[in-house]
Symmetry: D2
């Protein structure tokens, strides 16, 4: 049973159907009716005017956003365990033409104004030091924690006070919305965010994420950067259609809630072993090598995160019921 990544899950049937429905003739690139609907659809979702672009990967979404917020000679404040720092193969540096990721601390990969200040205040404002131009947070974080609206807003305020941009890596934004019960708006633009990488692939999509600009003036140049990065699909309607299908009837949120519920059930079973609070769909457990082996022997697949620590990720198709065998197995360790 798969728990090593929500990236490996299948695609939701409604997304598959959307591909079939879009397989009719229309204009190339992003001139088609699906692509053209994104701005409006996402503006509705966020309750404000946004610009929305389909992109195929979360890495592309993140890096296009950072390139829009930070010049090549600038820096982006992020957590030292952030996906942009550790898991994108240098893509932020590629897209920004060499901007520097400036690393900050924080439990559970969460930043706070205090941890941001600790790093930023030590940077003298002279030409010898790369200056921060933006902050990026991941919500839900790489360790499965979530920023609540007030926490996101505190960072937004901190950024605004220093004239910095603010980006949210929302690879698991659906899980954060589902977990907090907050509105998408509260976790983004109302908190001061300029851009959001709205992840849809981990939560049921196939190959389409959505880059949402609350600072709509950043979108036009990003259309050119998207093309320049080889990301302008000639049959772009198949990406736009995925985005629209995921958003319809809050499918994205319902699937994320299901995954969160699965994780909560597992957290219950693993109460004494949790390395981090379980707030979204990821669990990090203390487990000896023998314990890990015992779980694997029962057919559970997961990730060895660190010495004596393993990671489980619950996917959209694995709710509270589906994870019961694993919950039982953890309890009997």
């Amino acid at each position: 049973m798969r728990f090593f990544s929500d990236n490996a899950a299948p695609v939701h049937p409604r997304v598959m159907q959307a591909l079939v429905d879009a397989n009719v003739q229309d204009t190339a690139y992003d001139g088609d009716r699906w692509s053209k609907a994104l701005d409006g659809r996402l503006s509705d979702l966020f309750g404000t005017e946004v610009r929305a672009l389909w992109v195929p990967t979360g890495t592309a979404a993140n890096c296009l956003a950072l390139a829009a917020l930070c010049p090549p000679h600038g820096g982006v404040l992020c957590h030292r365990d952030a996906h942009v720092q550790n898991d994108e193969g240098g893509a932020p540096e590629f897209y920004t033409h060499g901007a520097k990721l400036i690393l900050c601390e924080g439990a559970g990969a969460k930043l706070t104004p205090a941890t941001l200040s600790a790093t930023a205040d030590a940077i003298a404002n002279d030409v010898h030091r790369v200056q921060p131009h933006a902050v990026t947070i991941t919500n839900a974080t790489e360790y499965g924690l979530v920023y609540r609206p007030d926490e996101a807003a505190a960072i937004g305020e901190w950024a605004r006070a220093r004239g910095l941009g603010f980006h949210v890596d929302g690879a698991r934004f659906a899980n954060a919305v589902a977990a907090t019960g907050a509105s998408p708006a509260e976790l983004t633009w109302r908190a001061g965010a300029d851009a959001l990488s709205l992840g849809l692939v981990k939560t049921g999509g196939m190959s389409a994420e959505c880059l949402v600009f609350f600072r709509t003036d950043l979108a036009d140049a990003t259309l050119r950067r998207r093309k320049r990065a080889g990301l302008l699909f000639s049959k772009g309607r198949f990406l736009a259609a995925q985005v629209l299908a995921m958003l319809e009837d809050d499918l994205w949120l319902r699937l994320a809630a299901q995954a969160n519920a699965g994780a909560a059930a597992l957290a219950d079973a693993a109460a004494g072993r949790l390395v981090h609070p379980v707030e979204a769909n990821e669990l990090f457990l203390r487990a000896t090598p023998d314990e890990a082996a015992a779980l694997r022997a029962k057919g559970f697949d997961f990730y060895d995160w660190a010495d004596g620590e393993v990671r489980f990720v619950v996917s959209w198709d694995q709710g509270a019921d589906a994870v019961r065998p694993l919950a039982d197995a953890i309890r009997t360790l």
Copy 2:
């Protein structure tokens, strides 16, 4: 009736079915069984050991190939009307970190050793001039001509004699293979090519092209560049499955042959108006604004290429029968 681009055509049903078939659980990124099958499948097709990577767009394929063949301080010889120069929004410069496209002449966007030499011989070999490191040709060309094996081989020999890499932009490689009757090998590695952007989207695919390295030593670094460009899909199996579906039973070639046949039928009807010989699936016709308007009034959609010149592209779903209404309309102009 659509003739403005083969980019706007629908996706072949077998590709759609392949997506459905791949919608099962497997490993993330490119560790799945479909992705792992590409090297072997493409090695079979070309009759030599190759490394093959899925990528989502032709621009990405071209630019990853050029980045593998040319350092940032180098240059790439191409035709002045090449897609890499005019239609990729600066992606070659982005991926290569600023290598220079060095423009050459040639009728119908075809290069020859003579036109390459005319440009290359004028470049003094000193540090003030950007030096060529590679040649790229487009087969079929941007004007619908094809390089035959001996023509490709002449360029390969020219490149090898100067120590330059050799890349083939095969956005419409299927049409070139179908048109020439040559084998894929004859038009690529047997002609000295180091890498091929094997286009599959224009000829029936959805969102997967294949970057083929005949110089297999170039592949490993390209895997990293692909990730760094935000192109490593988490559910990569859906790209690999498209490639495999297109190659099965020579589907890619049969669809291209059908499009070529449609174009040939149109060429027949437009004999006196042809700007370039029609060898693949594109036609460039002389037409007055009134004539263009008359065709549009009958429901034909196409591209105004230049003053008094229009472009028609025949797609994989438009064979000789399907284009008859347009052929008739052209004849009656």
Copy 3:
């Protein structure tokens, strides 16, 4: 006798003396009194408020200016024989992160609104084409012609009408000012220029050029780019002192006038052989290989520019008297 390049000329004694005078203790980088004097000194020279940065080479000046005027995904219109295109080893692409030089025509390497429009009007405004963001001209041009104030202003107006930046490569700006009798202002900001690479090395300096921003808002980010390019000298006062020495008592202009006079004397001698009008300090002559050999046999050193064409450059230390032996030799060919 040296006529192959004004780059090879010695340094004027007053520049040497300025180095000696600056060899006292002061602050590092550009905080010293000489560096701090540049803004004021150049503002005086141009009769408007400017920001002025020392840089060590003309290539650095040009490319910092272009990076300030053009984003990575943009393009810069220049003459196809421009120094930035042919003689800077790809530095414009390096500094701009891959912006594209878009080549235009024009006799004697001079651009006009008409030749600019011929190129620019053919570029569709879509994401597939790299869009022009700036124009750069070289005054005096690579073929020794000069733009007069009205010619420069015509280009400035053309650029402004399209929202493009306007840069002047003034490697031999002194020669252009001396030749036209125009003021530095008339040839730059009064003509709409945003930035000037003010060349001082060819006309008597050692290792300091001056990058002048008429759009003063571009200077601050350029200070960071200069540092990031490894160009912020720790003992920057030795560059600033050179600039100041060259400007004092119009030394730069007097030396350029002397070189121009030498070239004029040679042009007189070579009247029937001139490939281009001689307006500054360069001559391009038709000469057979035998004639070239005869001149070399007499000890004259110059550059074989093209088949049957040679180039002579007169340096600041070679006025009308100094070139007489060469003039005589040319006459007796």
Copy 4:
């Protein structure tokens, strides 16, 4: 009295004289006799065949070296307090096209195999993580410590075992050689180094450092990168002449020994206050704000490094005698 930076010191008279001597006609760029002498002169100094290029700044030397050793998608291991990380305004990222500096620990800004392993071993070898391609150390370090031959060799061996390049930032290499009594060879290529940024400006030069390649195959492409970075001076002889003057009769080493002696005398006076051992020409002292103010009131100029910590740098013109007033002042605090 100046103690805030050796960057602010004057230029040694023999360097000034070398500029005068080089002010004769010769070829442009790096074709002159001085530039051509560098390979031989530096090969003599290091007792092995090297390639040696003049560059104007240490930042340029460092970053050209890193670009030669690390591809854009790679990483460079360095100390978290390294000059390349903190004081070059993002130049390493610019020159390498976005390679990542991977930060390691170590007392006094010194790396060891153990601290390198602690960082490097945590990096999984997959495409998601940027992989190390090189190690760079600074000798003497940013805190005035030196690597002795066995310490440098241990790092060289560690790097070689992992297939990584090895660069030495020698902004104060002269001080390290003088302090250790080791030969230049022992601290570089005999220790496995591939390249050295040989600093000469801080120790008496004006504007010329020397980039030395022990891996001579890296030099040719670096000549092109140097040009592309706008660093190829047209009158390059004035940089080469500085390098040669500094090396003659070991001037560079004698001046560094003098600065070291001054620092040693100060260390003696400040024994109880030292934050780091004093091994080269820098001192970091604990001092209260009142104490710092008292020293400043006596005319001493220095740098506030951190809370309760000040930095003094002794320059080439400040030997043991010259620093006595400061030594006395420190003693009487």
